[in-house]
């Protein structure tokens, strides 16, 4: 099975075969065997070419993989997805980015915009208090505020959709 691993601006094509309880991976580095054994939920001991790694894939969002303590934002794209990307359909994904959700629970203290306002990517949308700190939630994309689902003074759970930008 062919995949592409994306990390930052780097991409690596790999071909994975399952061989018993191990994986055989072909890539620009040649053929290597990967042996990943679960230690805890979402935490693996990985041997690749006899090098030892501890790999965590246990965050809610698996685009974050932790290798020997280093958190990495990776993408693993399969053949179908790569084909779609070649057809230029990749941008579909980006519109999803207009959904702004909370990463942690907290108290909304201030909202800087109203529905209909234009925002630039990176501008602070609102303030949320959590863990003794005030956290700015920034616009992930530029666009128009389509919906605001919360009010200042409201306590929100993790994962609440708070604002939609379109």
């Amino acid at each position: 099975m062919k995949y592409e691993v994306n990390l930052g601006d780097k991409a690596l094509s790999i071909d994975i075969k399952i061989a018993g309880d191990k994986l055989v991976i072909d890539s620009a580095l040649g053929q290597m065997r990967l042996d990943a054994v679960k230690i805890q939920r979402g935490v693996y001991s990985v041997l690749l070419d006899n090098q030892s790694f501890v790999v965590g894939v246990c965050s809610e969002n698996d685009q974050r993989v932790n290798v020997n303590g280093a958190p990495l934002s990776i993408k693993l794209l399969d053949a179908i997805h790569l084909h779609l990307r070649d057809l230029g359909w990749e941008s579909v994904e980006e519109t999803k980015l207009g959904q702004v959700a909370t990463q942690i629970p907290g108290l909304i203290t201030k909202i800087f915009y109203q529905v209909g306002d234009e925002v630039e990517e990176g501008e602070p949308l609102l303030l949320m208090e959590a863990m003794k700190m005030e956290n700015e939630i920034k616009a992930p994309v530029s666009g128009t505020i389509l919906k605001i689902n919360v009010q200042a003074g409201q306590t929100v759970d993790k994962g609440t959709n708070i604002i939609e930008i379109g």
Partner: protein, 501 residues
Amino acid sequence: MFNKILVANRGEIALRVMRTCREMGIKTVAVFSDADRTAPHVLFADEAYHIGASPSSESYLKYDKILDVAQKSQSDAIHPGYGFLSENTDFAKQVAESGITFIGPPANAIKTMGDKTMARQSMLQTNVPVVPGTEEPIDDIEQALAVAQKIGFPVLIKAAGGGGGKGMRIVENATAFSDAVGMAQRESQSAFGDGRVYIEKYLEEPHHIEFQILADQHGNTIHLNERECSIQRRYQKVIEESPSPFIDSELRQKMGQAAVETAQSCDYEGAGTVEFLVDKNKNFYFLEMNTRLQVEHPVTEMITGVDLVAEQIRIAAGLPLSLKQNEVSISGHAIECRIYAEDAAQDFAPSTGEIVMLQIPDGAGTRFDGAIRQGMEITPYYDPMLGKLVCWAENRESAINRSERALREFYIGGIETTIQFCRSVLKHPVFREGPYDTHFYSQYKNDLHKELAESSDKTMLVAGGTLFQHIEQLKHNSQGDKSTKKVKSNWVTAQKEQTHR
């Protein structure tokens, strides 16, 4: 000596205080909020009392409740830790009035040093240099401009009512001055409900250096050398060390003397910290005094061999200091890395969730003051600091090497932490070389974050392959445990989107 001490705090500092209590044969009482029913400080203590709901305003800051518990449990002293009620004059007073010993300085010392303007004014009566600037909050812009011109631009405008960088402005020249003051006043008003600001000389290449103080009730005041605290982000310390690579022994002696004088000026008792700014020419200026135990106190403990909490308790019990100034020595070098539940890649946004795997470093010269365990939930209610890794070795280079080794073996799974960020600071050539100043983070931010994001082809292969296997196993094991199933891959998302179309 006390028989039983109530620790009016939570997290790592509660545990740290209780460790010393137990070594001294003193019973410990914990207080806890709803969220902390099974927190490490509750498990560690001899007794534990529920004091309210999870938000600290409804529990750890409720001093009537804490005093009730102290009475009920027949505690004869209260240790406030740091934060929460540790620098609250009213609390200190009420504790004393109820016949219980407050393990901390007299209420008056807390009061004098608690207000920056008051502290500054009080220091002007001594020989301790303060940063040149206005002595009173600004009323008259013209008069303030005259002061600014006298001390020379650039100047710093600072809020009188609070910290954290809010209401702070650097002004480069006279033209920009009055606008900047106005902005700072408005920002300060909105942040602290107090629009007062004052002016200070802006120091170039400033070092944040603090001295640990101990003062007993018998008139003995000593310092236990400095801590270098210039590695900060958003005015929050990240890594501290002692001795400072910037301070020579002559300067150490002068600053130590000034720190002792500062403590004496407010009739200080207990453990305290005098913070200084030191400019590139080794001129030093009083910044503020923290009238409590400091987060980074273990750094001092490791190079001096003194248990600062034990000294606090002894002092509060009326005993003399266990050592004299000339018995304070520096042995080796210690470095503290603060481990926060924060995502450095997301501008240090706090991270919550379950710690699914935990491997705390250990071995020679390796100390972790924390309050976490595998399976524990990190909640959004309190400070995101998980603990402090403090490494000691015979010299600075070895202490850095040891810290790097320890950070490398530190594993906290399930939440984001600053472990990796600390590693990238320790690896940075400017840090390794030393000295560095408070601009370190803003100056080398890009290096640090680039280092964090970097990865070899092999790492990508490992990450990609393991992710593949993880997803495959989830697919073939749909009976797997729920918590694993909620992992959602980008790749799976892509497939879903395709189906929807």
